[in-house]
Each structure stands twice: as C-alpha cells, then as structure tokens.
Symmetry: C2
Subunit: 340 residues, 2 copies
C-alpha cells in the first residue's frame, strides 16, 4: 500500500476555476501526504501558492510551462502550436517518470491529444477512450467511451471492453468484472450492426460478458464495465447528470411547498447532504484515459478544490496499480475475436 | 372543446396487467365521460367488465377480436398470421372511423406494424416514429424517435422534427416549438455525419430550430421537440427512467438513515408524493405514433389502471386536434431542405 510513487502532475491552468481552485485542491491533497507537481506559468502558480502559508511545508513543487490551452482552442492544433503548454508539459513529466500520472480540468480534447502525442498507445490499441466512473447504487461502474470516438467500429467496442476489464480489476479491485454493451434492449436481436458484431466477438472472449444492457442499468452497479460509442456514451452521461439535477430540483420545490415539508426538510437535512454526496461527481475524481501509455485523468471543467483533491488521489491510486502494463496483452485478442 | 369524437379503441389484452388493469382504466376514463371501445376476445373482456357493476351504465362497448399478440411474438409475422388480433382490430376501427384513435400497452413493435399496415402513412412520410412525451421541469418536451428506427438517415431526422413540430403545436398547444437535435455537444462541429446533415437542413427550414442540444437538456423543457435516431432515443429515455429511479432509491435510503430524517420524511411525505406524481410516467399517458394516418398510442407494458386512464384521455385529445391532417404538408419540404 505504501509503494513510493512519483508526484502527480497537475495542470494548474485547466478548468473554469483555475488556477485558484486547482492550487487549493493540490494543497488539500498534499496535506494528506500526496506529492503534487503543479504545472503552469511559474510566476502565476507561485503567486497562487503564496496565498497559502501552509503550502511551503507541503510536498508541492512547481514546474514551469509558459503556455496555456483554453476551451476555444482546437485540441490538435493547439498541441502542435503551443509546444510549451501546461497539459503537454504534464505528459512530458509522466513520460520521463518525473510524475506518476497527470490530471487536467482543461480542454478535454487537448488532454486526449496530448496523451496520444506524448505518451503514445500501448501496442495494438486502436483508439484510446475516456472512461466515465459512475457513482452506482453499488460499486463504480465504468462507462466508455465518453466522447473521444464518435464513430466506432466493432473492434473499438471490443477493445474498450477488454481495457475496461483491466481497469475495473486492477484499479477498482473488482475480482471478475461483468461487462456489457449499452443497447436499446436486452435481446440479441436489438442493437445496431456495430453492437451486434461487438457482442458476437465478446461472447467468444474470456471476459464475463453479460450481453446487452440498457440505459436503466447504467447506475445500478449490476454491470462493472459498460461499453458504447462516444456519441451514445456522451448522451447517456449527460442524460444521467441532467436527470439527477432535475429530480433534485423537483425535490427542492417539494420541500419548499409547505411549512410542514420545510420542517421535514430541515430535520432530514443531514440525510439529504449525505445523499447529495453519494451522487456528487466531485467525489469521483475525474475520467481516466484508457489506451494511452501512462496515467492521465480528465477532470470536470467546473472542478473545484474538492474535485481536484479527489482526482489527484485517483491518479495516484491508478498509477500504483500499474494497470497500463496489462493493456497491450488485454487488447491483443481483439482482432481474432472478431474474425468469423 | 366539446366536439363529438368517436370512442377510443383500447386493446384490452395488451400489457403485463391485461385485461384487469386495462378494463379498470377504461372504466375510470368512461366515468369522466370518455367513450371507450374495449377490443379483445369478447367472453374474456365481458367477464372482466362483469366484475364492475357500474360499468353497465358507462359509455363502454366491446368489440370482439379472437387473437392476441404477446411480447414474444415477432411483430411483423404476428400481424400477418394472427389476422384477428386485438391490436389490428383496434386499428381497423380507427380506419373505419368507428374509433377516433387507439391505445395498446402490448407489443410495441406490433402496434407500430399494425399502424403502418392498417392506417398507412400520410403522403411523403418515410418512417413513422414513436414519440416519448417527457415530464419536463416545464412543459412536455417530445423526444423522438424512441426505438422504431435504429438506423436513421438525415431525411428521417428532418421529418421527425417537422412532424414533432406539428404535434407540439396542434396537440400540446405550444405556439412556436423550439426544435433541437440531440448530440454530444452544442457546437456545430460536434455530432455525427447524420446529425450534421440533418442540422444543416433544419437550419434552412421554417421551424424554430435551435441546433444541437445535449442529454442534460432533455428534461428541462427548454426545447419542445428533440429528435434523434431510435437507438440513441431509447438509450436516453431508459437512462432518464433509470436515473430517476436510482435517485429515488438514494432518497429513500437517506430518509431511512436516522430517526431524525425518518421524522423529516414523515412531515414531508405529502410533498414527496406530489414530487413523485410530477415525474410519474403514468401521468403522461403513453407514446403517440407520428407519421401514420391516424391516432395510435403505445402505453407502457407495465401500465396500470391510472396509466391507461390517462392514455385514453390523451388519445381523445390528440384525435380532437386532427393533427394528422397536417403531417403530409409538414414533411413535404424535407427532401428540398436536404438538397445542397
């Protein structure tokens, strides 16, 4: 458990609340003994650190990166033109072994582009994916891909499943992950050409493949790894977020509807807070990249200090598991599984 | 408002709780003055009606159909082989003008097949769609298609938008519906070849087209008509259902977690009941078919008497609006909008 790992590289300039909230999150994490390297324009980052007297005694270092990619930048172009951008420098540190992994709340396309550009892909990986870790009723189901790959072929879904299985086992400690393909019905006759071809292949795999699951199964935790194309995955993730928010709004309105219910809400407020925490995306700590040769996490653009603190912990945990070592071997059978 | 319309044809044999709950729902609707024709094996339906003494004085008639399609039947095959099935006989009544519309909680594929087979499509309609009426924070957004068309071309999405606009105006009374395409991001650069081609066409249309919307916008009511392919639509709908259920489960657990919160829950229980009602799919009354030449509704397979009562009312309201008269004219510009 106490294996020494290099610090987590944190993009100090990524996200709506950077650098303030990012630096605060790094400080919170460092207070718990997690080593952090903050990456960004040194003067800016140091000025932010200066606001926190306690920071001096914590395991936090600063690594200079002169440029910043924002949300308007085209990911690929920005990665090439702004050679000294904070996202890329984070990955350079990971590549060099000076960081165990990185996290950024910035432009997610640029994070993926930087990961592919600097870290590269393990042998045999066709397309890296962004994994959403879902706060399930039980466990933490993985949903991938979350938007990196809008148009997918069967081999991509098959590789997502094989890689997701590795992550669920090695990082989340699920002994034998139940893997499913997201579809419009449970029956084999449902789905599209894409899902049917991928399902046929995964049936022949060594995974505990459960066939199709539906939108209603995403949050239950009955399935540990759920694969889909990036378009559907993105719609499903945002539908979950939006529905939870609207239900919460209905709850708020209900509580405020009468004096009696207001009193009830007051008495139950601790319970409500705990419920909110259970479903809080900030507890999840970001979305890991799968299929790149190192540990990278995309944190929510709206990340605050709590979200960043949790993300830093997840990066460290993922790095300690050395799950990336197993990816090449995991995806190797994909083509053979798809051959008739 | 009090235009006379023919009775609503109700498939007495469709759904998990047929015929008991269906007949009960018909009785509840008839008590409010809605005329109903129950369709199914006459002896079975009459035996069910006999259980309710009050039924004799209500505007309920029985129309014999000797066969029943169940959930295991292949929709198209069953429609051809079981020529006297209750779903088809419902549509025969609609076609003949003896019913203003129909509703079935049975095999949804068979309902769609029966609608196309018996009623046919208004001129120019490429593919009929199943519409999900969503209980939005405000209004009742329409999401289509819900699963009838897994593989869509741009012309289908464009026609869904044009037809959905008619339904929102004529049936739901939205003066100028805001129409959007469901996508993986708001920017024009997002989406797939399918969504981009449809969006370009809808921009040229007379609709109030808002471009792309995301999964998180489905429930807000900001958009009145949201179009997508049947695969994505089905995933999104079931994700909404599943998320609402899981949030409800979290809420229940939170309330039961301490004596204080239990007391709070007790005081707020009326408010919770009202909140539940607002999000209850049974209040929605089923999913209308769009693009067939008459009024047909698919009700949830788990429909109880309340769901069926509401569905019958919605069928009557939809029939009174004569929205189907406008569909052919509405879809006519689709091809031209898609031409470069």
């Amino acid at each position: 458990m106490t294996e020494h790992v290099a610090p987590v590289a944190v993009d100090a300039m990524g996200g709506d609340h950077a650098p303030g909230a990012i630096v605060q999150g790094a400080i919170n994490a460092a207070r718990q003994g997690l080593a952090v390297t903050l990456v960004g324009p040194e003067a800016v980052v140091r000025a932010e650190l200066e606001k926190h007297r306690a920071a001096r005694s914590l395991p936090i270092s600063v690594h200079h990166a002169s440029e910043v990619i924002d949300f308007h930048d085209h990911p690929g172009q920005a990665m090439r033109r702004k050679k000294d951008n904070s996202i890329r420098v984070c990955f350079d540190l990971v590549k060099a072994g000076a960081a165990c992994g990185m996290v950024s709340a910035g432009n997610s396309g640029a994070v993926m582009a930087g990961a592919i550009f600097v870290l590269g892909r393990p042998a045999g990986v066709e397309r890296p994916a962004i994994v959403s870790v879902i706060p399930g009723l039980k466990g933490q189901p993985l949903l991938l891909d979350m938007g990196a790959n809008v148009d997918c072929k069967p081999v991509h879904l098959v590789q997502f499943a094989l890689m997701g299985d590795v992550y669920a086992r090695r990082v989340l400690g699920v002994r034998r992950p139940r893997v499913a393909i997201l579809s419009n019905g449970e029956e084999e006759s449902k789905g599209t050409d894409l899902t049917r071809a991928a399902a046929a292949a995964l049936k022949r795999s060594r995974l505990d493949f459960a066939g199709y699951c539906e939108g209603r199964d995403l949050l239950t935790g009955e399935f540990d790894v759920i694969v889909t194309d990036g378009f559907t995955g993105n719609v499903a993730l945002k539908t979950m977020e939006g529905t939870a928010r609207v239900v919460g709004e209905h709850l708020k309105r209900a509580i405020l509807s009468s004096t009696m219910s207001k009193l009830g809400g007051l008495l139950a407020r601790k319970a409500f807070a705990e419920m909110k925490r259970r479903m809080d995306w900030r507890e999840i700590g970001g979305a890991p990249l799968l299929g790149v040769d190192g540990v990278g996490f995309i944190s929510h653009g709206r990340s605050d200090a709590l979200a960043m603190e949790n993300a830093i912990r997840r990066v460290r945990d993922a790095a300690r598991s050395h799950f990336t070592d197993e990816i090449a071997a995991a995806v190797a059978p994909a083509e053979a599984l798809l051959a008739p």
